[in-house]
Symmetry: C2
């Protein structure tokens, strides 16, 4: 590989990890603002999203420039293609963190709907998936990637149990319909974050094995 291509790829790598750091941080802060019903902390997540968007645009432009400049083939082409796809997933996770943060205003107003402990468990599981999917990318590790894909089933179970609990709450306490609906949206956003972590893991397997596993039927979001 030409030396300047290698350097460009390393720079791309570093930008992607910086984006990943911003995005993980946004998810941590949005879910924690939700659990503590803190609208100011939530607003900071909303305000910070433009940095994620800018970095996404920058990485995507760099990918296109590298493609046009170096005409990479085989594994390098696959790597840049994977960076493009992972960047899109990360940017969408950032949007979903904003979506969670935007639910905090309603949840902070009385009457308060209790936030089930399982929301925290689901959040932790989702964050672990996201972190592992990025580790798998950095290390080119398809075994960790496969574990992330399997973990998505557990998040789907959390999601279903939380939604069943919220349905019961809305039936029994009509005065809690509005905050329950906001919590429902936050849970659905979290589930979609886990779906995007799964997409990233699938991209890692594509990168390492050249096999496309994205868009398996059960990876659809609802």
């Amino acid at each position: 590989m030409p030396k300047h291509l290698q350097k460009d790829l390393e720079d791309l790598h570093r930008s992607l990890l910086r984006l990943a750091g911003y995005v993980e941080d946004a998810v941590v802060r949005a879910t924690s603002a939700l659990r503590s019903r803190d609208p100011d902390a939530a607003q900071e997540v909303v305000d910070g999203d433009h940095e994620i968007d800018e970095l996404e645009n920058q990485i995507q432009n760099n990918c296109l420039k590298i493609l046009a400049l170096h005409q990479p083939v085989a594994v390098d082409l696959r790597r840049i293609s994977a960076v493009l796809m992972i960047t899109t997933d990360l940017e969408r996770i950032g949007d979903l963190a904003v979506g969670i943060a935007e639910r905090v205003a309603v949840l902070a107003r009385p009457p308060h709907v209790p936030i089930p402990d399982q929301f925290e468990a689901m959040t932790e599981r989702t964050l672990r998936m996201l972190h592992s999917s990025l580790d798998a990318f950095v290390n080119g590790d398809p075994i960790t990637a496969a574990k992330v894909i399997r973990a998505d089933d557990e998040v789907d179970r959390d999601n279903q149990e939380l939604i069943a609990a919220l349905v019961a709450r809305m039936k029994n306490s009509p005065e809690l319909v509005e905050p329950s609906l906001s919590l429902f949206s936050a849970v659905r956003h979290l589930e979609r974050i886990a779906d995007h972590a799964t997409n990233i893991a699938e991209d890692v397997i594509y990168l390492v094995n050249g096999e496309i596993v994205r868009h398996k039927p059960d990876a659809l979001e609802g």
Copy 2:
């Protein structure tokens, strides 16, 4: 522009319009299956999604190949970059159509929650936005694109009014909480389809004017 680059771009164009046709059709069929509470028609949308995913992968691979082969610059580079972004939006609209179709099973079971007329109005507005955004791309027409971006405010209003009606319904009729929640999800999906049409319109403006308008704060999805 070299003749073979022009031919490759024309092929890319045609594939993108084919993808757009599939995706528009999926949205029409999913929303119509919902209104008629027809689970079989809904299942066809779910089953057809893999064609959309395959065509998306194919277009994205072709974009990367053209970039590596022809090293296009300036407007051609912007055009391929726009095709990449629009393809991603179309694929996500396809997923959202599947998400709407997946809500039909619950809505088909009694007790039936009434589906407000405004759902149809919101569907029609959203489909017009999607169609116009693609027309704007084909014709390189920033005026039509700007109209699409403005129309998103109307869809947001539909969305808010429909959700207020659903909240009232859930408060007054606890036995309708589950189907109302499915309808709520379908409405949110439709609103996100309109957001993706807005993204496409923003990409057209970028393509024509070289100005990035994606990721304006109000384009965030909730």
